[in-house]
């Protein structure tokens, strides 16, 4: 597959209002989480990527539901009690102990974080404002402003996932920065391996070699979008990364 997504972190998901990178699932209360689990459990066997069906007969034809049940167990329906239990378990996940303690460098990074306006989207305490940003090429329908939490500006990241895939919505959710010290790769399409790479201006060049997932047959490509902090001095970037690693 030419498209890959970063596997979202489940730790802290209880505090997020949207699920998936594109915010496909709303998350208002535990019932939404239970529905999301049920749909993902039961519907993934229907996946078809432009005619390519991963678990299809010869990857071309959807299998009979009985064969799916026998082969994968994927269409067995969890009971509500089971879904509730899974959701409660997911909510209970705790992050590992953060070895990055605040220090003078991270304190300066915190100031930079605020000065650069990062807090507008990555708002404490969850380090996300829990909003959806439209991708380039998507026009927000008028009624969405009332229905959803819209942060009405694109940060210019690659729109392919949210405009062309089955999980696409036209939006990307603002991800939480909590736990970035143990997480990665970064960006929804997993193109950047480290926080330093996110702040590296060279990523905007067409001859840039993405440090994480490149895409099949791709050797170089520009990783555009979310172009914040790229012009900071190296010293400030170090301070900012030091702060982010404390979250």
């Amino acid at each position: 597959l030419a498209l890959k997504t970063e596997i979202p972190d489940l730790i802290g998901v209880k505090d997020r209002k949207y699920l998936d990178h594109g915010g496909l699932g709303r998350h208002r209360e535990i019932g939404d989480m239970m529905r999301y689990i049920a749909v993902n459990q039961s519907m993934d066997f229907l996946s078809s990527y432009d005619g390519y069906i991963p678990i299809g007969v010869n990857q071309k034809t959807l299998p009979h539901v009985d064969s799916v049940r026998k082969g994968f167990g994927a269409s067995d329906r969890y009971s509500e009690a089971q879904l509730y239990a899974i959701a409660k378990y997911v909510y209970s996940l705790k992050p590992p102990q953060n070895p990055n303690k605040p220090n003078a460098l991270s304190k300066r990074g915190e100031l930079i974080f605020k000065e650069q306006g990062c807090v507008t989207c990555h708002t404490p305490p969850f380090f996300t404002n829990n909003k959806l940003t439209p991708a380039d090429g998507f026009t927000v329908p008028e009624d969405h402003y009332e229905k959803y939490d819209i942060f009405d500006i694109s940060v210019g990241t690659d729109p392919v996932y949210t405009l062309t895939t089955r999980r696409g919505t036209g939006y990307y959710k603002v991800p939480s920065l909590r736990g970035v010290w143990y997480r990665g790769p970064f960006f929804h399409n997993a193109t950047l391996a480290t926080l330093e790479d996110v702040l590296d201006k060279r990523r905007l060049r067409d001859d840039y070699v993405p440090t994480a997932f490149k895409g099949v047959g791709v050797t170089t490509k520009a990783v555009r979008g979310h172009e914040f902090g790229l012009d900071l001095s190296e010293k400030d970037k170090k301070a900012l990364v030091a702060y982010l690693r404390t979250l």
Partner: protein, 180 residues
């Protein structure tokens, strides 16, 4: 009847805009500050036009007006500026200008004055009280005033745990005024 109405209209125009001549504006600035996550964010509205008819001896015939191009807002971060133009904040597609117009001016003492101004921001028009100083240097006269507004009263943005509602605004205009 039409002649009488026309005469009243002409008299009104003379009264409002004819008695105190407009000042030749040499420079102006509109700056604002707001606390965001404990940091003071500073911004400006550099594109504006001001008509200053100010005579300290004829305050009742004086009038101060300013019209700012909301789309020129600048806070030092381009994407933030772009976001401020959207419907959640200034919504410039629908409300391209911010205007301020004096309704009454009063002298406090010395060079200190105050005025009641009509501020129109987005679709809201509200009266604001703006104390201002008048200073003279050479042939120039400077009017500078500071005031605060609650952005929520004008529908700018939403309630936020990090962004203050209070916006401090400072306006300064430098010019020449023949009457002085």
């Amino acid at each position: 009847m039409i002649r009488v109405l026309s005469a009243i209209l002409i008299l009104n125009l003379v009264f409002i805009s004819g008695s105190v001549p407009p000042m030749e504006v040499k420079s102006h600035s509109i700056k604002f500050e707001i606390e965001n996550a404990g940091i003071t964010v500073k911004g400006s509205l550099p594109q504006a036009s001001m008509e200053i008819r100010f005579d300290p001896d004829h305050l009742d015939e004086s009038q101060l007006t300013a019209t700012a191009d909301a789309s020129a807002i600048s806070t030092g971060i381009k994407l933030r500026d772009k976001h401020l133009l959207g419907r959640e904040y200034f919504y410039v597609g629908k409300y391209p200008v911010i205007s301020l117009k004096s309704k009454s001016l009063r002298k406090i003492k010395g060079n200190k004055y105050t005025g009641t101004f009509e501020l129109t921001l987005r679709d809201k028009t509200k009266d604001v009280e703006i104390p201002f100083n008048v200073s003279r240097k050479g042939g120039d006269i400077t009017l500078s005033g500071k005031f605060s507004i609650d952005r929520m009263e004008f529908g700018v943005g939403e309630e936020s745990i990090i962004l203050s509602n209070d916006v401090r605004i400072e306006i300064e205009v430098v010019g020449k005024i023949a009457a002085l």
